[in-house]
Amino acid sequence: MNLPDACDHPLGSEPQAPNAQGSNHRGGIRGDRLSLLACSDPKILAELLMPWTKTERTWLRRPETGLVMVQGRTGGTGTRFNLGEMSATRCTIRLTACGSTGVGWVSGRNAQHAESIALADALLQSSSHRDEVCAKVIEPLITIRQTALEQAAALAASTRVEFFTMTRGG
């Protein structure tokens, strides 16, 4: 995974070593991208992936919906406990041409979304498609997410109350 990459955003480039870009979980850069894809709007993702929808592929695992146990830790540091189950849909595809494999997991039951994610993930694993998919799918999604975050932050900021403390004494 040390191939040169055109993207300059942390999410767009391959790390030299796992977690080298500051990812703080086991999935590393691939996990970050999968998270970005899973949190994206299914319609926007499908539109961005239009040029690749005809890419030949086979199913390793067709989309299937099941329950996953969500675990939590009290205060983020305590012992693990089972918080509850949520529905999730997953699938795995392999590209016929280059043999690269992609996985897609999404919360809920949107099989189409899971397939889009798996396709994007597989393309990102393939050296011939990676740069283009980075530029045309990942980067726009990052922008969209950034915008959404900024809007939310702006909304919150307008209600912020500043507290001043007068200097006492002298």
Binding site: L60, R61, T101
Partner: protein, 237 residues
Amino acid sequence: MEVDLSLVCRGFDDPVKDSQRSFRTILNALARPGTVGHLDAMNLDRAPAAWTESAWRVAMTLLDGDTRVWLSPSLATPVALASLRFHTSCPVTQNPREADFVFVGGPIEQPDWSTLRQGEPEFPDLSATIVLQVPGIEVVEPSSPSGEAPSAPNFAASVAPSVVPNIASSSTWELRGPGIEKTQLIRLQHAPEDPWPEQLRHAMVANRATFPLGVDLLLVWRNLVCALPRSTRVAAG
């Protein structure tokens, strides 16, 4: 344990229907020992090298996260391990003694049957099932006139010996027991002077002696499966 996805081979196209169909075939085979069930042919790229189609189908059908599996050395390829993990999430054990399913690539790789899980008197079902790849099975026409019509696709598929290359000899076994009206003959193909059919028959006899404890055997070849549960008595035909 992480799975190397690049190694994973394809499983069932339609996991629910395909595994139900396979399950039915295996169930029928177990209900009528000595008959042959056809596990539908799969594309060859779906079974890892060294695995016959039917052994792979049995694995895809019967294994899940609660079944401990032991693989004989020739079957425990990286592709097979990754694919089993991916499709069935079964735990693979290094110790045949604790396995629920024992997959054996060829007769010479068999572990000693008496070391496998035999079940307990209260729970005879807690025993191992052996899936054994053999170099050829042939079902000899049933000796009894069929009183009841057996289900058509799963019955007595006679396979011409000529399609098995380099196999010169065969051993015929006479089966009796539940699921067999009178007797049932099967023929195992093997190289001349091969000792394993005789050893396998002795193992089956010893296995029958501890009934209701004991192991169950599925013989697999190409896309065929033939079951010899512990209730079946075997005699040299």
